[in-house]
């Protein structure tokens, strides 16, 4: 693949004409970072370009001393010979698609994105282009997200049920994006306080500073020793499941919020009592719609079940290809 705008390299996706990397895995001189999840935002690079909406989260992730330029969505800036602009991806707060224009061609790297409404971030903006690079985390037609109102109904019913049984309800979800989205979706529905695992505190704070309205929260760590959490909702990252931290929530009912919970086998295998289908990635119809919206003549598909999406896009008459970009563990954005 010899495209002046796009070249997979060991460090990450490279733009030769602009001499910069997108979401590099290793330290490089110049980086454009699409969003603050750990498998995309890596510290150690010389100079970062990010979306202004996510600057707080980026500082948390990349370090207070990192050299970061923040750009408003849609604002154009030059990197080498390339005109670059960042556009909302609807994935998490401050997430961006990278638009690159050079020599009369436009390439859009969409990063991680979703099409469903989310009160914590600006919705995905379709950007017309010649070449569209899409993710495919949920690249199978069995993945179609239910409306969030329905998920929140289920979540509230589960919380009420736990309250009635006098047991805690512990919901596992990724600390950046998913947790805040749930807290924000709950806000118009309840005034009750939700308890947070320590790993979520600063991230929730960053969202509040960015003006996102969420239900009241309280750190679990600030509760008195031996406090009874019966009937309370607690949010924790999946890594806390099965850890000694869980001991304080005796007889807790556990839930997991993830797109993978769409499949019954996954729900049963994970051993959580409840699965809630919440994802910050596009579902199958969202992927297809975004490809159509881009009006691109060539589609590159990155991680996930890429082969299926590529074959389907070809069936639909698109020129679709695979683009292998190495990513680290996607513990944070894995669903």
């Amino acid at each position: 693949m010899s495209d002046p705008l796009l070249q997979p390299r060991p460090e990450g996706l490279y733009c030769p004409a602009g001499d910069f990397f997108i979401d590099p895995m290793l330290p490089v001189t110049r980086a454009v970072v699409t969003h603050a999840h750990g498998d995309h935002a890596r510290s150690g690079s010389g100079w970062y370009q990010v979306a202004a909406a996510g600057i707080g989260l980026m500082r948390e992730r990349l370090g207070q001393d990192a050299l970061i330029d923040a750009h408003d969505y849609g604002e154009t800036f030059r990197m080498g010979d390339v005109e670059v602009s960042l556009h909302p991806a609807g994935h998490v707060l401050g997430s961006a698609q990278v638009r690159m224009a050079y020599g009369g061609r436009v390439v859009v790297v969409s990063g991680d994105y979703k099409r469903d409404p989310d009160p914590t971030c600006v919705p995905f903006e379709p950007v017309p282009c010649d070449v569209f690079v899409t993710e495919s985390t949920f690249g199978l037609p069995v993945y179609r997200w239910p409306p969030m109102t329905q998920v929140i109904d289920d979540l509230l019913a589960w919380w009420d049920d736990c309250a009635q049984k006098q047991i805690p309800a512990v919901l596992f979800c990724y600390a950046l994006g998913k947790a805040q989205r749930i807290l924000a979706e709950l806000a118009p529905r309840t005034e009750r306080t939700v308890h947070l695992h320590g790993a979520m505190l600063r991230l929730v704070e960053s969202y509040r500073e960015a003006g996102v309205r969420m239900v009241p929260t309280e750190p679990v760590s600030e509760s008195a020793r031996g406090r009874d959490f019966a009937g309370e909702l607690i949010l924790a990252p999946p890594s806390a499941a099965g850890s000694p931290w869980m001991k304080r929530f005796s007889k807790a009912s556990t839930g997991f919020a993830s797109g993978w919970m769409q499949i019954r086998g996954n729900r049963r295998r994970r051993g959580y009592d409840r699965g809630f289908v919440v994802s910050d990635h596009a579902d199958w119809p969202g992927l297809i719609r975004s490809v159509e919206d881009s009006r691109a003549s060539r589609i590159y598909v990155t991680h996930g079940d890429g082969d299926t999406l590529i074959r389907h896009l070809r069936d639909l008459g698109h020129d679709a290809q695979s683009l292998r970009v190495l990513r680290g563990s996607d513990n944070e954005s894995g669903g």
Partner: protein
């Protein structure tokens, strides 16, 4: 249907037996009796006819969605359950049939579906799907494909009915044994108080099942309170003679009438009525030993065996216990009395009706020595039964123990893998293992269980990264990993490429310390099989 779909969802999302029992009892309280009867039947593992082939379901799905066959196949491979794959891929239906009672589906709609021509059946399926919500589509598909597994045992259903109707569990279990036909009347009859007119003549008794012994046998106390007998490996069954009529029921509570005429003849030769608990075995009169289970398998499938098969694969009934004699229920009597009556009843009646002989030893240590003959005697080990024990219902711990001999083991190499189903769907969990035949590895066993979730995940990732070939859902993998397998027996077989068949293979452990050169050889298995 929506009420039953909601019950299914509730059962599906809890692992707690107590919660499941509550959910079923609560459903029984609210549902119309006709629906409740069918719910009880299907949850308790009642047989459903397969009403459409999976090919028809796939064709209907392709027609409803416009998706290509390969895309449907890929999706199915990920989900591991066709009923669910369909529910996830279809456009959402309007729910206009959501309130249709379960009874109507089971008694009218589904039987009518079976009578249609294939093309009309596909059209009917599509029409129903358009009229149901996803959870109901899923359940309908499960009913159509005849497999409704939701972690509910027959026993649990019986307990839920007992809880709801406030009747003793054992009474419900007995009334439900045999062929219970679901209907509102049958459910009412099931749950009325016990009366003197109780007529259960056509029913077998619920079987009493032994549990595996987990401690040293010495902890069972004074040996004189116990009886030992061989653990025979055949089909557990009840042979009954009531009012002179003969019946034969398997532990799965299926009627076996007609399949084993020599046993029915032996039953007819009994001088008085009785119900005998025992084991059907393929029997070799010359060696007075049972023949391998594969010999019995030839008989299981044959509804009316011919003279040739009767001579080449004869069977016998090894009697364990007497549950009823001349119309009176003996189950509360101590085992020692039941055994005495059993011995008197069957003595000299027919060579095909044998008394399972006690294994006599004067100490636990001596019994342990006797047990070492288990394999030579073609048995799986010993059964230990308390002489004072009543004949209980189901698997109750304490009075009856099975003390099996240690399994055979072998080291084999992982050759193929395919995705599992249910809890393991979407993961490669069904493995095929091979051993060396000269310098090639030949498959000798398929095994599913034995690894923990962490190992399964690790192996799944490895399989995906080291696939060398694909055959539909099956992946051939690089020969790298060695596993220690346990199995109960090995037999020569012409149906298997390797020439041997292993019985109950399962994974004992992942031998990361071994290389493929350390795997076992086919010759050793052959020797074991012919020895």
């Amino acid at each position: 249907m929506h009420r039953f779909a909601a019950l299914y969802a509730e059962l599906d999302r809890t692992a707690s037996t107590l919660a499941k029992r509550e959910a079923i009892a609560s459903y029984l309280r609210d549902a119309p009796a006709g629906d409740a009867a069918w719910a009880v039947y299907v949850l308790g593992g009642g047989k459903l006819r397969r009403l459409a082939t999976s090919t028809e379901l796939r064709q209907a799905l392709a027609a409803s969605t416009g998706y290509a066959d390969w895309l449907i196949d890929e999706s199915y491979e990920q989900v591991g359950d066709l009923a669910e794959t369909i529910a996830l891929m279809l456009p959402e239906g309007d729910g206009s049939l959501a309130d249709e009672p379960l009874q109507t589906w089971m008694e009218q709609r589904l039987p009518a579906l079976a009578k249609l021509e294939s093309a009309d059946r596909i059209a009917q399926l599509q029409a129903w799907w358009r009229a149901l919500r996803p959870a109901q589509v899923f359940l309908l598909n499960k009913l159509i494909t005849g497999s409704l597994r939701v972690g509910v045992s027959h026993r649990l259903v019986v307990q839920a009915i007992a809880q709801w109707s406030n009747q003793p569990t054992d009474l419900i279990a007995h009334r439900m044994s045999g062929t219970w036909k679901p209907s509102a009347e049958a459910l009412t009859a099931l749950t009325r108080a016990a009366g003197d007119d109780e007529h259960l003549a056509d029913r077998p008794y619920p079987f009493f099942l032994a549990s595996p012994i987990e401690h040293e046998v010495e902890t069972l106390g004074d040996m004189s309170e116990w009886m030992a007998e061989w653990k025979w490996d055949g089909i557990r069954a009840q042979l009954m003679r009531r009012d002179g009529k003969i019946g034969l029921w398997s532990r799965g509570e299926e009627r076996l009438d007609g399949r084993f005429p020599e046993i029915e003849l032996a039953g007819a030769a009994l001088k008085t009525d009785g119900v005998i608990d025992g084991e059907i075995l393929a029997w070799d009169a010359a060696s007075t030993l049972p023949r391998p289970f594969t010999a019995l398998q030839k008989r299981i499938g044959k509804l009316k065996p011919g003279a040739k098969l009767l001579t080449s694969a004869p069977v016998c009934f090894m009697a364990y216990d007497l549950l009823e004699h001349e119309g009176s229920d003996l189950r509360e009597q101590p085992l020692r009395e039941r055994r005495d009556m059993l011995a008197a009843l069957i003595d000299g009646v027919d060579p095909a009706l044998m008394l399972s002989p006690p294994v006599v030893a004067d100490s636990w240590a001596a019994l342990t020595v006797e047990r070492q003959q288990s394999r030579e005697r073609q048995t799986e080990g010993l059964m230990l039964k308390r002489l004072d024990s009543p004949y209980r219902v189901g698997r109750k711990r304490g009075d009856w123990w099975k003390w099996k001999v240690d399994p055979y083991t072998l080291d084999a190499v992982l050759l193929y893998a395919q995705p599992g189903h249910g809890r393991r769907s979407g993961l490669f969990t069904d493995y095929t293992f091979g051993v060396w035949d000269g310098d090639t590895l030949v498959p000798v066993a398929k095994a599913y269980s034995g690894l923990d979730d962490k190992e399964i995940g690790q192996l799944d990732r490895w399989i995906r990264a080291h696939t060398t070939d694909r055959f539909g859902p099956v992946r051939a993998v690089e020969a790298t990993h060695v596993f220690e397998l346990a199995f109960e027996a090995v037999q020569l077989s012409t149906r298997h490429k390797s020439g041997v068949a292993t019985r109950f293979p399962r994974i004992l452990r992942w031998r990361t310390d071994k290389s493929i050169a350390d795997a076992d050889k086919l010759d050793d298995l052959r020797r074991l099989a012919s020895g």
